[in-house]
């Protein structure tokens, strides 16, 4: 007893205590900083949701606490769901995004596989080049692209987005996939080659399952590009039946200087819902590593 007491005597204990105290302060600091971020990032969506639950009368009355819906109502949502135009925008966004995701991921996976594994001459230069194209801002490209799209006769045609969005999504997705594929040990494809697999089989049966977290990460990115883009649809689509959600909300729900705030915010909530739902479901996959156990860990 005595010896233990001496062992855990004053000096070492003090040291441990100060370490713990440092940790505690670091933790408090992190919480403080994170709280600021949470407030900054969550206030606009909160306000959006609150406004979407207010009636037009309540919004225009400008009385009471603007942060709380006094008389919550779903009339804005009901209006949108039954509104033909909103349905069309939503539907357009869905099919455009789905096609963009499929197209971008197909190109990105094939490109990344060949760039990271086939080892042909110049593959290094091309990989770097792919990433560099991502660094060119889309806002610089839309004027030259306008000419190309015009000459293809695709102005004011929703298909133009299926053609253009992959140019934004593919470079970054390819880059993510090159990273993931490169982390797969080369022995795995060599083992598969010896086992009798062809390159397409190696891609389908080994690489895609093993790199699933990377594929999901890239898919989320491609989805975000397709769903949330504003500039290109604004520039290339002008008639209501061709518009997608992002542009449609602004164009159709703001008439002249009349802002239907409740409806606009409800449309925003409905537009934001799909990405939020997808992120929530796929986050676990996104984080999970699958390669553990492939080689000596």
């Amino acid at each position: 007893m005595t010896s233990t007491a001496t062992m855990a005597g004053a000096p070492p204990r003090k040291k441990v205590g100060s370490l713990e105290r440092q940790n505690r302060w670091a933790l408090r600091g992190s919480y403080a900083a994170l709280s600021v971020f949470v407030v900054i990032f969550l206030v606009p969506p909160f306000y959006m949701i609150m406004t979407s639950l207010k009636s037009s009368a309540e919004i225009s009355a400008q009385q009471g606490n603007p942060w709380i819906a006094r008389d919550p109502t779903l009339e804005n949502f009901a209006y949108l769901v039954s509104n033909d135009q909103f349905q069309r925008y939503f539907f357009n966004s869905v099919w455009v995004t789905a096609l963009v995701v499929i197209l971008s991921m197909t190109i990105a996976i094939l490109a990344a596989f060949s760039l990271s594994r086939m080892g042909f001459k110049g593959s290094q230069v091309i990989s770097t080049g792919v990433f560099l194209t991502y660094l060119v801002p889309p806002s610089l490209l839309f004027i030259p692209l306008f000419q190309i799209v015009g000459s293809l006769g695709l102005i004011n045609n929703t298909w133009v987005l299926v053609l253009l969005f992959p140019t934004l999504a593919v470079p970054f997705c390819t880059w993510i996939m090159i990273g993931y594929f490169s982390s797969i040990p080369r022995e795995l494809d060599e083992a598969a080659l010896i086992d009798g697999a062809s390159y397409p089989q190696i891609l389908l049966k080994i690489f895609i399952p093993v790199a699933l977290p990377g594929i999901i990460a890239a898919t989320i990115f491609a989805f975000t590009v397709g769903w949330g883009a504003f500039l290109y649809p604004l520039a290339y689509l002008y008639s209501a039946d061709q518009a997608v959600l992002t542009v449609g909300i602004v164009r159709e729900l703001i008439r002249g200087d009349v802002f239907a705030w409740g409806t606009i915010m409800a449309a925003c909530v409905m537009g934001a819902a799909p990405p939020i739902i997808i992120y929530t479901f796929l986050m676990d996959y996104y984080v999970a590593g699958l390669t553990a156990g492939a080689t000596k860990g």
Partner: protein, 367 residues
């Protein structure tokens, strides 16, 4: 029939670096051949060329009587076990072992029969449903071997399969590999940098260095009759002692002189062989530590006692290693633990010259 023959194969990389410099090797059907050498000696490259994972710059590789230079790996009818196991992480043990058979369109029953058979042989039957990440290193290595066995290929290739295991498991798996080869006597090419692994497993050992074959032979042959200084030093642990020496002739007999005070008579049966080298300046005496022992009874012909100041003593349990210095060169001997070796004290040691090697250091050849 599944002989492997390697004819004048060369592997050079960009920038004229030659990893393999035109080697020839004939591997018989059912033979277990081990390629051994220090890292960068070209042994893995050679194995990968046999596997078809590496292009051959020039020369020919034959497997089972066919040139396979332009045959892709999957059509060479080989199976390979990798150092880091290379198991497919998303597949169960069963699926890992069945993968190659599925791709080759074997029937489900046949796949199950073969996997079961191999799993029983390797004692991994209870692991068939697990994923690789739930296995220990030794179990993963067994699965990797199982994946090779189920294919029943012409040739097994092993690329340092035991290097990632801890010492105890390595010895255990070594025995396991030998057992498997006795049960399934497939032609095997095995690469390792561990000479003990090479000696214990091989029918024949191929010692490689700097992209060339130094010597090919049965383990005992390499051990007792190395042809070069490199092989003499590489095979055996602790390594052979190399002591610079002079060869003197007096009254028809030859003497190996190590220092002014220390000289050993050359055994008579070697006199004729060594006589042409009398007076050469770059000779080295090669003597394994086990041929420097404590003194026992009367010396037999060719054995000579000498006194030496012992620098370091390393008790190993069944034997004790003693280190001493002759003319600034460190040498070691293996003595009985009860021989009374004490550091910094003089001890009488016995050199068995019947097992000596005389090496010309300019050519590196054993004379």
């Amino acid at each position: 029939m599944s002989q492997v023959s390697i004819r004048k194969i060369v592997k050079s990389y960009e920038g004229d670096v030659q990893a393999v410099k035109g080697i020839d090797l004939e591997i018989e059907d059912h033979e277990f051949v081990v390629l051994v050498g220090p890292s960068g000696c070209g042994k893995s490259t050679t194995l990968r060329m046999i596997a078809g994972l590496e292009e051959i710059t020039s020369g020919e590789i034959w497997i089972g009587g066919e040139v396979v230079n332009d045959v892709p790996p999957r059509d060479r009818d080989i199976a390979m076990v990798f150092q880091n196991y290379a198991l497919y992480p998303h597949m169960s043990v069963f699926e890992n072992m069945a993968f190659g058979l599925k791709l080759r369109k074997f029937s489900k029953d046949e796949i199950k029969r073969r996997v079961d058979e191999a799993a029983t042989m390797l004692d991994i039957k209870m692991l068939l449903d697990r994923k690789p990440k739930a296995l220990s290193g030794g179990q993963r290595q067994r699965v990797a071997m199982g994946r090779a066995i189920v294919r029943n290929p012409k040739v097994f290739l092993f690329d340092e399969p035991l290097s990632n295991l801890d010492a105890k498991l390595r010895v255990q798996m070594r025995t396991e590999i030998k057992k498997v080869h006795q049960l399934v006597p497939t032609t095997t090419v095995y690469v390792t940098h561990d000479q003990v692994e090479a000696m214990t497993l091989a029918d024949r050992v191929v010692v490689m260095n700097h992209g060339v074959i130094e010597q090919v032979g049965a383990p005992q042959e390499l051990y007792h009759n190395p042809q070069t200084r490199f092989v003499a030093g590489f095979i055996g642990s602790p390594a052979m002692n190399f002591l610079p020496c002079r060869l003197e002739e007096a009254a028809g007999a030859l003497r190996i002189r190590l220092s002014d005070k220390l000289a050993f008579p050359v055994p008579e049966n070697r006199t004729a062989r060594y006589r042409p080298h009398v007076g050469k300046s770059s000779l080295v005496l090669g003597l394994r530590p086990e041929h420097i022992t404590e003194t026992k009874r009367h010396p037999e012909p060719g054995q000579h006692d000498f006194d030496m100041m012992i620098d370091v003593v390393e008790p190993m349990g069944m034997e004790t290693l003693v280190y001493f210095t002759i003319q600034g060169v460190e040498a070691s001997g293996r003595v009985n633990p009860n021989a009374g070796a004490v550091a910094m004290q003089s001890m009488t040691l016995r050199a068995d010259l019947n097992n000596m090697h005389l090496i010309d250091d300019t050519t590196g050849k054993v004379l």
